[in-house]
């Protein structure tokens, strides 16, 4: 950033300072930072207080008033660079138009979206809906790149309800155990007459979910969709931890924490060192249980393993580790994309080894299967 520069001593035709600053907030909003009206107002107030002549202070004022998370700060810096001339602290002459079109949330293919006569509207809507429905049911491994992109947008339609557990906290309720303190309090309000009994019960809390995603070669056509699912789960309330299983164990929770799915997936891609490599399922599971699971991460959690169970050679280590994991976790769900295919038989050594140690064995090859899986998780 520049040291000292001024809006005030500009030699160019002057625009009111407020207009410049508000223009900046518009550009920032277009870049994806949730700038609300009151935030913009606070920004103006802060810049006025910091002194509009001090570009550096104005820069910090914007960061403090317009941003709400590290991701926002990053975008702020980018937009700031683009909007204000770093040498003068003035807006650039030629700005990108502030009304940058926002990403389309339509789930429709471009070819269907345009060129329709009004009379056919209803027909087309129905056709689109059914195209989306077909896509929901299709095996992800068979999709083209274009279809995958459309499916990616449909992940937002999955409804996620975290599994629940009883917490140690007690909440007022109309029946349950007697709440002595509230009963006494109520009686005090009536001059010590015990008029009414108050009750309480254990409150409900979201149960943690742990996702273990196999990213080895045999699962590579599903990896993208599975990580999207993990991101959808992780950004929907309850505590979710995600790990990638390959030749080694990689924690993805931080990478997937970004709110924007595309960013999160890129971050996850950068984090995993062994995409589409081999699998050592038994060993990586052991690493997970030793390093994370036993210490508390998997305790009382719903553990979901996404894998085809492809294990070279001896599967006894895998069976042993799954048994350990099953003892620690609240419940274990194994998701195998091949499960959804016709004539599937669990014949691989790996799958046969783990089946005695899982609570549910479900398919995971299409969006519809994911919806069912989310249902299984929320009821676990």
């Amino acid at each position: 950033m520049t040291e000292l520069s001024a809006f005030a001593d500009a030699t160019r035709p002057a625009r009111p300072g407020e207009e410049i600053l508000l223009g900046f907030t518009v550009a920032l909003r277009a870049a994806g930072v949730a700038v609300t009206h009151d935030r913009a107002q606070a920004y103006l107030e802060a810049v006025a207080l910091a002194g509009i002549a001090n570009a550096r202070a104005a820069y910090y004022a914007g960061r403090a008033t317009l941003c709400g998370s590290p991701a926002d700060l990053e975008r702020y810096d980018q937009v700031y660079e683009a909007y204000f001339d770093p040498r003068a602290g003035l807006p650039r002459r030629r700005q990108a138009p502030p009304g940058v079109p926002t990403a389309s949330t339509s789930i429709l293919p471009e070819s269907e979206a345009g060129g329709a006569g009004e009379a056919d509207d209803e027909e087309i809507v129905r056709a689109r809906a059914s195209a989306a429905e077909v896509l929901r049911q299709r095996d992800i491994a068979t999709l083209t790149a274009n279809e995958k992109a459309r499916l990616a947008e449909m992940f937002a339609t999955l409804s996620v309800r975290p599994p629940l557990r009883r917490s140690g906290r007690l909440r007022p309720w109309h029946r349950g155990s007697l709440d002595a303190s509230r009963t006494l309090r109520a009686s005090l309000r009536r001059m010590g007459e015990p008029a009414r009994l108050e009750f309480r019960r254990r409150a409900l809390r979201a149960r943690p979910v742990v996702l273990l995603v196999d990213v080895s070669g045999s699962m590579s056509s599903y990896a993208d969709a599975l990580l999207r699912l993990a991101h959808r789960l992780g950004t929907s309330g309850g505590p979710v931890e995600t790990f990638a299983l390959g030749t080694r164990l990689t924690r993805l929770t931080r990478a997937l924490a970004a709110r924007d799915a595309e960013r999160a997936l890129i971050a996850a891609g950068e984090t995993v060192p062994d995409w589409s490599g081999g699998t050592r399922l038994g060993e990586t599971l052991q690493a997970f249980v030793d390093r994370w699971g036993r210490r508390g991460l998997a305790r009382g959690a719903v553990v979901v393993v996404f894998s085809d169970g492809w294990e070279r050679g001896d599967a006894s280590l895998l069976a042993e580790q799954m048994a350990r994991l099953h003892r620690i976790a609240h419940s274990v769900v194994w998701v195998n994309p091949h499960r959804g295919k016709a004539n599937y038989e669990p014949v691989q050594l790996g799958i046969r080894a783990v089946l005695p140690h899982v609570d549910a064995f479900v398919a995971g090859h299409s969006l519809a299967a994911f919806a069912e899986l989310l249902d299984v998780i929320s009821r676990a």
Binding site: A34, T36, D38, R39, A42, E45, A46, L49, A50, R56, A57, Y60, A61, R63, A64, T65, C67, G68, S69, P70, L73, S167, G168, R169, S181, L184, R185, L188, M191, G192, P239, R291
Partner: protein, 289 residues
């Protein structure tokens, strides 16, 4: 009493031993000037809590701290009635006999039976510094309640009346970002992300907070810590850990960092067994290089 400018903030906080950079000084100045709460996020051990202490000390205001935890609710943050004393009072009235019921009830909700928890205490003692520490640990319901207090700086107690702060307290919220805070709360606040300090600033911080540590050892310790933050540790050491480690080494009478003393004191720096092993390996490389 008040700060005059961002530079003034930096200088006066510096006098108490809290060294802040330009960005933090500016944001602090703005937060105080705009009478808005300041929300500080960042890794543990980057001096979020220490800032509140430094501000309180500089402005000579009482620091009232509300430590959040899972399950905290209004009675622990705001106020509570001193229940046993109220009962005793009632019994005493009964024993003396011939009391007017209405009078008795009124006397029950007197100020002397009111237990002021941190938020109410801050409003009544204002001007004061209210530190809401680790707000991410509390439940989201608590946030909503906090939001209400922070937007009006007043608390209404049904039996007693409304308590309004004459001057709004300086409010700092800290979060370790174990979960995302609600947008509504964030919007009320000025936001600042505190990063780990750079090499020179951290050396300065160690010099001002642990002046007994020799300059050579100080530089060595900070260099090692800065390198370790880039290593893939489960819990990268914060400034607090740097200070602990420097003090520990100083206590052992170490003049220059060597492998043996470093290995003996590594517990001051990292708190995971896996991390400790990584640090030993890293030290091996750093000290032989």
């Amino acid at each position: 009493m008040e700060f005059r400018s961002a530079a003034d903030v930096a200088t006066r906080l510096g006098e108490t031993g809290y060294l802040c950079d330009d960005a933090l000084a500016t944001v602090t100045f703005l937060a105080l000037g705009m009478r808005r709460p300041l929300l500080l996020e960042g890794e543990p051990g980057t001096g979020k809590t220490a800032l509140a202490e430094a501000i309180a000390q500089t402005l000579d205001l009482p620091l009232i701290r509300l430590q959040c935890y899972e399950g905290i609710d209004a009675t622990q943050a705001l106020y509570d009635w001193d229940f046993p004393r109220q009962i005793l009072h009632l019994r005493a009235l009964e024993a003396s006999g011939g009391v007017d019921a209405e009078q008795a009830e009124k006397s029950l909700y007197d100020e002397r039976f009111l237990l002021a928890r941190p938020v109410l205490a801050a409003l009544r003692q204002a001007p004061a510094v209210l530190l809401v520490d680790e707000v991410d640990r509390a439940d989201d319901e608590f946030e909503a309640f906090l939001l209400e207090v922070l937007s009006t700086y007043q608390v209404s107690i049904p039996e007693f009346g409304t308590v309004t702060a004459e001057t709004p307290p300086v409010v700092l919220l800290t979060s370790n970002r174990t979960r995302e805070l609600h947008d509504a709360l964030k919007r009320r606040c000025l936001y600042h992300w505190i990063d780990h300090p750079g090499l020179e600033r951290e050396i300065e911080i160690v010099r001002s907070r642990a002046p007994e540590v020799s300059a050579a050892l100080n530089r060595q310790v900070v260099t090692v810590v800065q390198t370790l933050r880039d290593a893939d540790l489960q819990k990268p050491p914060g400034v607090a850990e740097t200070l602990d480690w420097a003090r520990a080494l100083h206590l052992l009478g170490v003049a220059a960092l060597d492998l043996e003393s470093a290995a003996a004191t590594v517990g001051a720096l990292v708190k995971y067994r896996e991390d400790a092993e990584k640090v030993r390996h890293a030290l091996d490389r750093l000290l032989t290089a």
